[in-house]
Amino acid sequence: MGPGARGQGTGDTATPPKPLTPDPGPRRFLAIRETIPSWMSWVLGVIPILVLLLVWVVMTAGGEAEKRIISPTILPSPFEVVGSFGSLWFDRALTRNLGISFGRVVLGFMVAFAVTFPLGVLMGAFTKVKAAFTPLSVFGAYLPIPTLVPLTMSLFGTGETQKVVFLALAFGIFLLPQTVAAVDAVDDIYLKTAYTLGAGPVQAVRKVLLAVSWPEIYQALRLGFGVGWSYILLAEMVDIGKGLGGIIIISQRRGPREHIYLVLLIIVVMAFLTDKLWVIVGRRLFPYREARR
């Protein structure tokens, strides 16, 4: 995770227009909601990563396996992990597998969006629809998703469909309540104004609820996109072989151990980059949102 990848979640704003900061009072090391320069947020973000790396180096230091605090049969050293990049890239076709996994995540996400978006908006807008679907949505949130693997397999076979559907379920369970909450959060005053101006229910949904909640929905989508990566291992348990999940599962059995950690690092980097992409696109789509904050 790069510096502040998640931390920027609520304020994608490197340089927001000067907010009305309360008087900070006497300068102290930790002040509530102080503004810090961007270089400092980078530095502060890098420090824990360096500490973590240092711990890793120390725990796995020493040439001989027997002299290390943690044996390489459990955790190889960071140097060994990085050193196995070549074999991961060439022998195990990293880029192809990465592409396959990424494609599955994107497809699953799109399917989930296609279902949860209309449903979520309707639930947010119409109380009766909400009443009908809330129990299912709550049930889904508590569902241990791994148990769905065999079920999706018996319904959708062992091919791509199963993986995409499984990921779509994982995405959908996350996205639905978020979408509802985004629509819910639209202030009544906008609706009232619209009614006063003679808007019908369709217009109220389209022009008011949807229009106002779009940035929030987008934010939910952005956070939700990460969910898929945490389930990629489960999705790729059936018909193992292609994809990053497959690499991890196979490396757990027969090594090399390094590839497990390397793939984890790569997933983190991927998550960071895609998140940045979401932020950049978001800025273009909703420039007013930045001003509002």
């Binding site: 001989e64 396996a65 027997e66 002299k67 044996s71 390489p72 049969t73 459990i74 890239w89 060439f90 022998d91 195990r92 076709a93 990293l94 880029t95 192809r96 597998n97 592409g99 693997v149 065999p150 397999m153 018996s154 319904l155 076979g157 062992t158 091919g159 348990m237 059936v238 018909d239 193992i240 072989g241 599962i249 196979i250 757990q252 059995r253 027969r254 090594g255 090399p256 151990r257």
Partner: protein, 581 residues
């Protein structure tokens, strides 16, 4: 048309498009040129396996030995000389006061002797291990082999459960640290009907799997089972479409739900319940025929074994005692009860698994570990697995069998004489039968071997001849004959319970040249018989296990190329299911 537009600098719109296209084309071209660098295919892409190498490699267990063997050939080396030495400070958890061995097991009836010896799963003072050897054993259900392996590597458990073929995959990584190197002291059981292959439609033989889709759990005994069969029948594993699941249960479920899958390798009870429930499916083969293919063992951490040899000996002996005590039916039903409690299953479910495995007693372990001529011993099982997995690109640098196999405890128990009353009764006796009767059904697998016979000779150990036709001492006309026999012996050993047909074929070079057909037929029969006799002599097979037949020149190897005489001179080895099912 405006009077004075600001002079445009730079390319026109069209120019820009052309420029962009050009740059994109350059990038695409570069990407295509370097495609193997940017997106390499990986080394697991379907590669052709040299079946010939399979045959050669299989023979490399020992140097050609033309003398033949009449007595049991035992290993004479000292295991400690071959096992990797343990370095550093031991890294496992151990309370010297409590002395509890952490022993994970999965759901498998084969562990029953251990449960019996331990009087249940939890450490207790009633167990054989405590009463006779002064330590306790904690049996833990860890069904996932990866979790079990990680607990072993982290020192949380001193013991690792697994099949010998799984150990082949685990060993290279675990041996990076000399303390977690696995040491195998005992075989607990043979899978005896617990693993099997279920097929759809009209697949009657392994050969019929060509071009079909098969699903199984990767890196599991299932993978070894099917790929060993494919290689034995001379098929490229890539000629079958493999689909992988994480567990055998999922493989069975995938087979049932997806009609496009033609076969699955799975475990009991699924392999027996699928043909009952799903129409059009049948069992191709199970480990009740290939009853010496999949061996269940346990391994100890090398550092633990070094520090506590008395515990290792106690574990081995206690498990053998558990097997002895299980002959008492009352005690056995008590053991089922303990196992059911440990697994959280019904007693009837556990009893239903009773026939999936055959416990291997001291005498069988002795043969497995020490008898170099046992066609299904540790060494051959290990080497065969290593070969299959290496050909599939699954193991890089293989581990030698004597780096993990430690027969020192079995030797000690032998000199103690503790279990000398235990006999090897797991040997099938075959009633004499005929070729016609045996071949009424399709063979499970057919292996074609080639022995270069000296013209008109049926002696497989025929020496080379000089120019005037006299034999040259200490030479072999076919120097690879031992390797070829070894290959047959392994398959016949794995399929201990099956009947093997040995069919000799001759070439048709003398057809229509005054040669009597009867003589040719006799020659092909003699050749089949000499293969059979060599196998019986060296590997102590029951002679009735082999049915011989001579086919003369009736069946060319390749019907499309009947005059390919080099191909035609051959012996075919076919494995048939035992008659009484």
């Amino acid at each position: 048309m405006a009077s004075n537009p600001p002079a445009k600098v730079g390319p026109t719109a069209l120019g820009k498009i052309v420029l962009i296209l050009f740059v994109l084309a350059c990038i695409a071209g570069a990407a295509y040129y370097f495609r193997d660098m940017i997106a390499p295919k990986g080394n697991q892409a379907a590669k052709q396996i040299d079946i010939g190498a399979f045959q050669q490699q299989q023979g490399k267990v020992e140097a050609p030995d033309t003398k033949g063997v009449t007595t049991v050939n035992e290993y004479t080396y000292v295991p400690a000389e071959k096992l990797p030495p343990v370095k550093g400070v031991s890294g496992y958890k151990w309370d010297a006061g409590e002395k509890v061995v952490q022993f994970p097991i999965n759901v498998w009836i084969g562990w029953l002797p251990i449960v019996a010896a331990n009087h249940g799963f939890s450490p207790n003072t009633d167990s054989i291990f405590f009463k006779e050897y002064g330590f306790k054993v904690n049996l833990k259900l860890i069904d996932d082999p990866v979790t079990a392996r990680d607990a072993f590597a982290a020192g949380e458990s001193q013991i690792l459960w697994g099949t010998l073929d799984m150990m082949v995959l685990f060993a290279p990584e675990l041996m990076r640290d000399s303390r977690t190197a696995p040491r195998i002291y005992q075989q607990v059981d043979w899978s005896n009907g617990g693993d099997g292959i279920v097929v759809r439609g009209n697949i009657h033989s392994v050969k019929d799997l060509k071009g079909k889709t098969i699903v199984y759990a990767q890196n599991s005994p299932s993978q070894y089972f099917i790929n060993n069969l494919l290689l034995a029948s001379g098929m490229q594993p890539s000629s079958v479409n493999h689909k992988y699941t994480a567990t055998a249960f999922e493989a069975a479920a995938a087979f049932v739900s997806d009609k496009r899958i033609d076969a699955c390798v799975s475990w009991a009870p699924d392999i027996y319940s699928i043909p009952e429930k799903v129409t059009g499916t049948r069992i191709l083969t199970t480990t009740s025929e290939a009853n010496k293919l999949i061996a269940d063992v346990w391994a100890a951490r090398a550092d633990f074994a070094k520090d506590h040899p008395e515990v290792i000996k106690g574990l081995v002996a206690g498990i053998f005692k558990g097997m002895e005590k299980l002959t008492d039916p009352t005690f056995k039903s008590q053991a089922f009860q303990w196992m059911a409690e440990g697994y959280g299953m019904q007693v009837d479910e556990v009893k239903g698994m009773a026939n999936d495995a055959h416990s291997t007693n001291f005498a069988e372990n002795r043969s497995f570990f020490l008898n170099a001529n046992d066609p299904a011993n540790f060494e051959r099982t290990w080497k065969n697995t290593t070969f299959v997995y290496r050909e599939l690109g699954l193991v890089g640098t293989p581990v030698r069998f004597d780096e993990v196999m430690d027969f020192s405890v079995i030797k000690q128990l032998e000199s103690d004489g503790t279990f000398k009353n235990q006999q090897d009764t797991y040997r099938t006796t075959f009633a004499p039968t005929t070729y016609k009767k045996v071949t009424a059904e399709a063979p499970i697998v057919t292996q074609t071997i080639r022995i270069n016979f000296y013209p008109n000779s049926s002696n497989i150990y025929e020496p080379q001849h000089d120019d005037i036709g006299s034999a040259i001492a200490n030479t072999l006309y076919d120097p690879t004959v031992e390797a070829t026999l070894e290959k047959v012996a392994r398959l016949a050993g794995q399929y201990e319970r099956a009947v093997i047909a040995v069919v000799g074929h001759s070439d048709s070079s003398m057809k229509g040249k005054g040669t009597r057909y009867e003589d040719v037929k006799q020659l092909s029969l003699d050749r089949a018989n000499s293969v059979k006799q060599a196998l019986v002599k060296k590997f102590k097979f029951d002679p009735n296990k082999f049915i011989i037949e001579g086919k003369a020149w009736d069946e060319p190897a390749d019907p499309d190329d009947p005059m390919n005489q080099a191909l035609n001179r051959r012996v075919e080895i076919s494995v048939y299911p035992p008659e009484a099912k």
